[in-house]
Symmetry: C2
Subunit: 349 residues, 2 copies
Amino acid sequence: MITLAVDCMGGDHGPSVTFPACRQFLSTHPDARLLLVGLPEVLATWQAHERAEMVPCSEVVTMDDPVEVALRRKKDSSMRVAIQQVKDGKAQVAVSAGNTGALMAVSRYLLKTMDGIDRPAIATQLPNDRGGATTVLDLGANVDCLPEHLLQFAVMGSALVSALDAKNVEPSVGLLNIGEEAIKGSEVIKRTGELLRKAGDSQAIRFIGNVEGNDIFKGGVDIVVCDGFVGNVALKASEGVAAMIVGGLKNEFKRNIFTKFAAIMAYPVLKALMKRMDHRRYNGAALLGLRGLVFKSHGSADQSGYEHALNRAYDAARNNLLDRVQGRVAQAAPVLDAAGTSSSGTGAA
Amino acid sequence: MITLAVDCMGGDHGPSVTFPACRQFLSTHPDARLLLVGLPEVLATWQAHERAEMVPCSEVVTMDDPVEVALRRKKDSSMRVAIQQVKDGKAQVAVSAGNTGALMAVSRYLLKTMDGIDRPAIATQLPNDRGGATTVLDLGANVDCLPEHLLQFAVMGSALVSALDAKNVEPSVGLLNIGEEAIKGSEVIKRTGELLRKAGDSQAIRFIGNVEGNDIFKGGVDIVVCDGFVGNVALKASEGVAAMIVGGLKNEFKRNIFTKFAAIMAYPVLKALMKRMDHRRYNGAALLGLRGLVFKSHGSADQSGYEHALNRAYDAARNNLLDRVQGRVAQAAPVLDAAGTSSSGTGAA
């Protein structure tokens, strides 16, 4: 039995999305249990289910709340209580669509960072041209990264991909850069390249070299490592282009009676494409490097999107992602230590 | 009369693209002259035109040549000779589709950096959802930027946009960040935000605050300022998504006889969309901050794309972009000096 703690209040839509997604998830996962965390009056609207338990709380972290408020003032928030379930061993994984900064800060405060890791990272999947997905990290948790942090991301990303895809035991890692040549990039990126090459030589990861922004969507690499600033910009720029193209397509099809007819003819084709590109299918980012599993859903996710985040969290717990990350970090300890990693502990601990 | 020096050898296709583009350009610009720089055997294939003059050279910088080779060894390359025409006052602007690193290095070496500017930047336009274009800089010339460099980019970008769009005298400037709040971002970005706010207060630029990756394509801001690493990743990630969507659309339409029929019906609509999104329309990036005008075409540009780069270079020269950038930098001198700008000279020089 896998138990997920769900922050039912988080996200732009709260329980109007999380409740139906949870019910659907329960029906497709007979070996899953849910701890539904929310305000009592909201929980009262949930129709009882034998594998769902209520955990009342008295506060909600809003999308605009500064990190400090989430951390110091709202100590009985749905977000925090959900993560507390993981800390207390009552759930294997927590899921929230709440604000990213707050979620990371509260998770880090309650669960603490794993030995050998300085900074937790956020990893997500993006669809690629080969019909698969590319895992990108970090996506906004860390804006000023040192080379050793990026090396830690590479090790954790490798553990994530091999945990969620049993066929991919040694996923490939690329370093996001502005050219494929090793001499390109900023000082931090050049030094990171050296560390990743060494890690590749000692088989801690399978490093394939530099990749560029478009490689995320080409699909020639399993994991793309970058700092949170660059990752966040790349992700949002990509969303912006996709929205512009889809919006443009809709406008062109609406132009006149002929184009509207064309739209009807083309509808099945467009629908198939949209399904393949559907970002909801890739919803559910992993917070890696903590002593407990936390998954983040996009704040604007609809029911289908939130369900995917629950599925991913479930898969991660079922495949012992936590142990795998810890194991992989321990295995990479010589490389991480040599790179000058966290003083809080060695990977071998 | 506006004279452009054209590196006819540069780019993936060389004269097979540059020659037809130049001929077409001459026919649509009766007050333009071209200096065609190339190997003698290539120039021999050009059919004479009264407003085109040949400038023979003996070497070509390849797309793979390291910067050092372009700079120190190939001193009679088509790229270098074209830029030399600008330096010698024989042409107002040089255009090349050659390798970006080499073009920037040779331009900087020959033309020198403008007073008040530490680092030249590369600025390009990207299409946005409002049917206009957003100017983004830097796009790869500078990977490790200080806040004062980003301030200089903001000032130069403002001069570029107001020079090329007479109706937009005070274009808006946004700072690329990972959230709209002023407290977000890396240390460099936070300090840049402070500098840009001060520059906005003193009306050196019209600063509207932080913007995110998707804002490039939304169209709510005229100029997006970022360091070259982030700009390059954002640009390439965007190209990657666009290529994936267009490729996916083509595949879906090719699937079977019904979808092929749908494609025929939808063809005019798709064509209209592709035209609007056509990256060739936005080809032609400006190298800003030099004591002479240089424009860069995408290496893979076809005839239509290259023509756009020639058009943009022509427009820039016709609208005195060089004087305007110099004027704007001089006007912003108090702000630039206060920020701790170039030691090579003050903006007021």
